[in-house]
């Protein structure tokens, strides 16, 4: 028996030693954080956020930490509870943003600056979340298809005359889901499902790829009309890769529904984490995001539209055309997201 226990003891000593090392390392990492810091949980990629952070740090001296993930951050925040280090949450669409609000993970914020800089339909009435930039869901049409250039409404996409000429990413992607939700808001369930079915019937190929790939498909002659987010056009047009610039040359943008409800827009936005220990600083950061220099950055880095009406739209963006946007309360989109997904499942988009 003695040998047996000897073996166990030796093993458990080394395991304990190892665990001790790991927790010390963890502890050291935690302690390394200085006083003036702001911690961000972000659904937006670091390379798109870094310029904002650099500008903010340069202005205020605050050190900003970031962790980026595309899925599950809400669950992480929830599991961490009061122990969470997060001060701010940033997302790239309204549906994910309201998930945080619905789970009570965001703190209500009152800020005159935010309320002045962001129009009411682009922020939560209780101040739990705010939009910082807008992107329009537009139609990309082939310059070589004169008839397609006459398309003017989302509704037209279901017209049988476009059979085999439309490209789209999968319906269940957030951007399409939000578009369908906006349609639900405008026209009700029955009309929306009939419309979605019509669009699917017109698809030139199985839904696939991202919005970039749809523009490419037009360039390659696979289809003549695609549904894309506006900023992809800018990214392609000004790409450092010559072939991507060629794709952009093959299309022009149509801002749909200008004579009625306006073009569907989605937002990138954020809010202050409920258990943030540094709420004042967090609010200051959000306010900074709505200031003129930051609002301009959204345009110059990623070709997005400012939410702050006082900030002029970048000339490049203006050159794509002025448009009126669908002014439905943006939060409604996330309320309708589940219904939209059900329609997507039924019509197999």
């Amino acid at each position: 028996m003695r040998t047996l226990f000897n073996g166990t003891a030796k093993r458990s000593t080394s395991v304990a030693l190892f665990l001790a090392t790991v927790s010390t390392a963890t502890l050291a990492l935690a302690e390394a954080k200085a006083a003036e810091v702001l911690n961000i949980y972000s659904h937006r990629q670091p390379f798109l956020i870094k310029p904002f952070i650099d500008a903010y740090t340069a202005k205020t001296g605050t050190e900003v930490n970031i962790v980026f993930a595309s899925k599950g951050l809400a669950q992480r925040l929830e599991a961490e509870g009061t122990r969470s280090p997060a001060d701010i949450v940033l997302t790239v669409d309204i549906a994910r943003l309201s998930v945080y609000a619905d789970r009570d993970l965001l703190a209500p914020v009152r800020s005159e600056i935010l309320e002045k800089n962001i129009p009411a339909h682009l922020r939560a009435p209780d101040g739990r979340w705010f939009a910082f930039s807008k992107r329009a869901r537009v139609l990309a049409v082939s310059k070589e298809a004169p008839d397609a250039r006459k398309i003017s409404r989302y509704e037209d996409l279901a017209d049988p005359k476009w059979e085999g000429r439309i490209c789209s990413r999968p319906g269940s992607h957030v951007y399409n889901r939000a578009l369908i939700a906006s349609f639900l808001h405008a026209s009700g369930a029955e009309k929306t499902e009939a419309w979605a079915k019509g669009v699917v019937a017109n698809l030139a190929r199985r839904p696939q790829g991202n919005d970039r790939a749809q523009v490419k498909a037009i360039h390659e002659g696979v289809c003549d009309i695609a549904i894309i987010n506006s900023y992809y056009y800018g990214a392609l047009k000004h790409s450092d890769k010559p072939d991507q610039r060629e794709w952009a040359k093959a299309i022009e943008l149509v801002f749909p529904n200008q004579d009625d409800r306006g073009t569907h827009v989605n937002i990138s936005g954020g809010g202050v984490a409920k258990h943030s220990k540094n709420k004042a600083e967090a609010i200051r950061f959000l306010e900074f995001l709505t200031s003129e220099p930051a609002q301009q950055l959204y345009g110059s880095i990623n070709f997005e539209y400012p939410v702050n009406p006082a900030v002029p739209i970048l000339s490049e963006l203006r050159s794509w055309g002025a448009f009126s946007e669908d002014k439905m309360p943006i939060g409604r989109i996330s309320e309708l997201a589940a219904d939209a997904q059900k329609i997507i499942d039924r019509v197999r988009w």
């Binding site: 040998t3 073996g7 963890t26 911690n39 970031i66 790939a213 890769k241 997201a337 997904q341 499942d345």
Partner: protein, 553 residues
């Protein structure tokens, strides 16, 4: 003395307190905690969503998942088993190179191969470009070309990077099959492959295939990129699209049941056959020299998987780099590389210790029930990474709560995020997820080890711990090393869990690449992507060198 030696043989483990079984039960529980957390999430009310799912997409999800599994199984078995047999049985020009190059695709992450193949085979890619040039076609409407973003494409690319699991385990099994058996086969005029090598290697083939199947079921990157609506894609549609984590977890559990069924079939099949070779050291079959067209055929069989799974994706990435699309090597990239290495090393180490412990205790020191529990504990592999990560974060949050209370009361330390800050959770998640890889390596090694070895050692008066240390571990060091290196490579490639669970400002190469790849901008991150592959190659080479030394005796 005698009493101690017969401790195991008498099978009194249940009646008496068995510290080994107890310790492995505790370990199994820790490993199961995140899985339990997923099941708990699945037990919540899903708001009647299943009616909708049954009516609309569920049959599609299940059908697609099964088709993909069949396709990947076909590709990976064809690549893995054929090449393993050829390099063991035949000697031909280039064999010594191909022998280890066949492992290289293991270093290529699924999300990278999907992307690179699309670039390679789509309309604007070099293949179709050359065809258009040749035949004078202009637009995509002028001709037909197989769509890479399809079920067939997904089966091919997933199979092409997963077959090394099968290749490695199968080759080891072929090498360990005693030459005497083949000689007997030759004398009786049997087909050596079908009637001797394959049946003998079956546990290894099946163990490799089980890993491949689990990874196929839980794959998200490739199926999302190719828009193949599998159960895993459905999990994400339900979770993020309908904001219904309960229903998503329920689908995950359904997928998990698939895996359990597979594992059961495998265990039942394996239970019937147990081969013990009592000779001291098995002499491997000597490869037969081949020349001319036979050598060419051998070469082709072995080179094809390497080209499909490694040369083409690496070539595409290299091309991006050479065209100057990628960002340059910078301090953050090097930091990420270092992080990746450290993380992969720590996880591989822990996994091999825990898997070894569970494997040894399961084999020699516990009852069938315990063995089953430990087998299930290694099934975290079957969950999509993100879902498992949510299980880990939930379980980790609860554990943290407990640790914080204990620490505060016992030691007066007020720090309260032990696991959820730092890389603690990432390590836990990876250990849980890749337990299957280590456990598979250990058990398939143990299968071939005669139980009589340990029994002899026990009869000679050594305790169980000492027997394991002096007899089992040395004999299994190849399996342990191979398992550890596979885990290392797996962690290097791992994306969804690291992404969700990592601390602030902590990047691995995979997460660094992902911020670009997410938006189909992989060109920008081609260099770090190549680094994932190149660093993955290092352990592959080490593994092979060790295997070679081992087989030479």
């Amino acid at each position: 003395m005698v009493d101690r030696a017969t401790f195991h043989a008498r099978g009194v483990g249940l009646a008496r307190f068995n510290p080994w079984a107890f310790a492995s039960a505790v370990l199994a529980i820790v490993l199961l905690a995140p899985i339990v957390a997923v099941v708990v999430a699945a037990s919540k009310d899903s708001g009647g969503l299943w009616d909708h799912l049954f009516e609309t997409v569920l049959s599609l999800y299940v059908g697609n998942t099964l088709t993909l599994m069949a396709g990947v199984a076909a590709v990976s078995l064809a690549f893995g088993v054929s090449s393993a047999w050829v390099v063991v049985r035949h000697d031909f020009r280039g064999r010594r190179w191909l022998e280890w190059m066949l492992l290289l695709p293991a270093a290529v992450p699924g999300y990278l191969i999907a992307y690179t193949y699309t670039d390679f085979l789509e309309f604007a890619g070099p293949v179709q470009g050359a065809l258009r040039e040749l035949f004078g076609w202009r637009s995509a409407r002028d001709y037909w070309f197989p769509e890479i973003r399809s079920m067939g494409g997904a089966s091919l690319v997933i199979g092409a990077v997963l077959y090394p699991y099968i290749y490695m385990m199968t080759r080891a099994a072929f090498l360990l099959t005693p030459a005497s058996l083949f000689e007997t086969g030759m004398l009786s005029g049997r087909n050596l492959f079908w009637s001797i090598a394959l049946p003998m290697a079956r546990p290894a083939v099946v163990a490799g295939l089980a890993l491949v199947m689990m990874e196929t079921i839980s794959d998200f990157g490739t199926v999302e990129y190719f828009a193949i609506e599998t159960l895993t894609l459905g999990i994400f549609n339900v979770w993020l699209g309908m904001n219904n984590l309960a229903a998503a977890s329920q689908i995950a559990v359904v997928a998990f049941l698939f895996i359990l069924a597979l594992l059961t079939v495998e265990v039942l099949a394996r239970a019937k056959r147990r081969f013990n070779d009592t000779s001291r050291r098995a002499v491997s079959i000597r490869p037969k020299p081949q020349n001319g067209w036979r050598a060419l055929a051998c070469f082709t069989v072995c080179a094809l998987p390497v080209v499909v799974g490694f040369v083409i994706p690496v070539g595409v990435l290299l091309n991006f780099v050479l065209r100057g699309y990628s960002l340059a090597l910078s301090a953050p990239v090097l930091d990420a590389a270092l992080n990746t290495f450290v993380l992969a090393g720590i996880v591989a180490f822990i996994v091999m210790i825990t898997a070894g412990f569970l494997g040894f205790v399961g084999a020699y020191k516990s009852d069938p029930l315990m063995r089953r529990v430990t087998a299930v504990a290694s099934a975290g592999y079957a969950f999509p990474g993100t879902i498992l990560a949510i299980g880990v974060v939930t379980a980790g949050g609860a554990m943290d709560e407990g640790i914080a209370v204990v620490m505060r009361n016992l030691m007066g330390i007020s720090h309260d995020a032990w696991l959820t800050s730092g890389i603690g959770l990432v390590i836990v998640a990876c250990v849980v997820r890749f337990q299957a890889v280590g456990y598979g390596a250990v058990t398939s090694g143990l299968e071939r080890l005669p139980t009589s070895m340990v029994e002899a050692s026990r009869v000679l008066g050594r305790g169980f711990g000492e027997s394991v240390r002096t007899v089992v571990v040395p004999m299994l060091r190849m399996s342990l090393l191979a398992g550890g290196l596979l885990v290392f490579v797996d962690v290097m490639k791992e994306l969804p869990m690291t992404l969700l669970l990592r601390p602030f400002n902590f990047e691995t190469l995979a997460t660094y690449v992902y911020q670009y790849a997410k938006d189909e901008l992989l060109e920008e991150a081609a260099l770090p992507a190549l680094m994932i592959i190149v660093t993955g190659v290092v352990p592959v080479v080490v593994m092979n060198a060790a295997l070679r030394r081992f087989t030479r005796g």
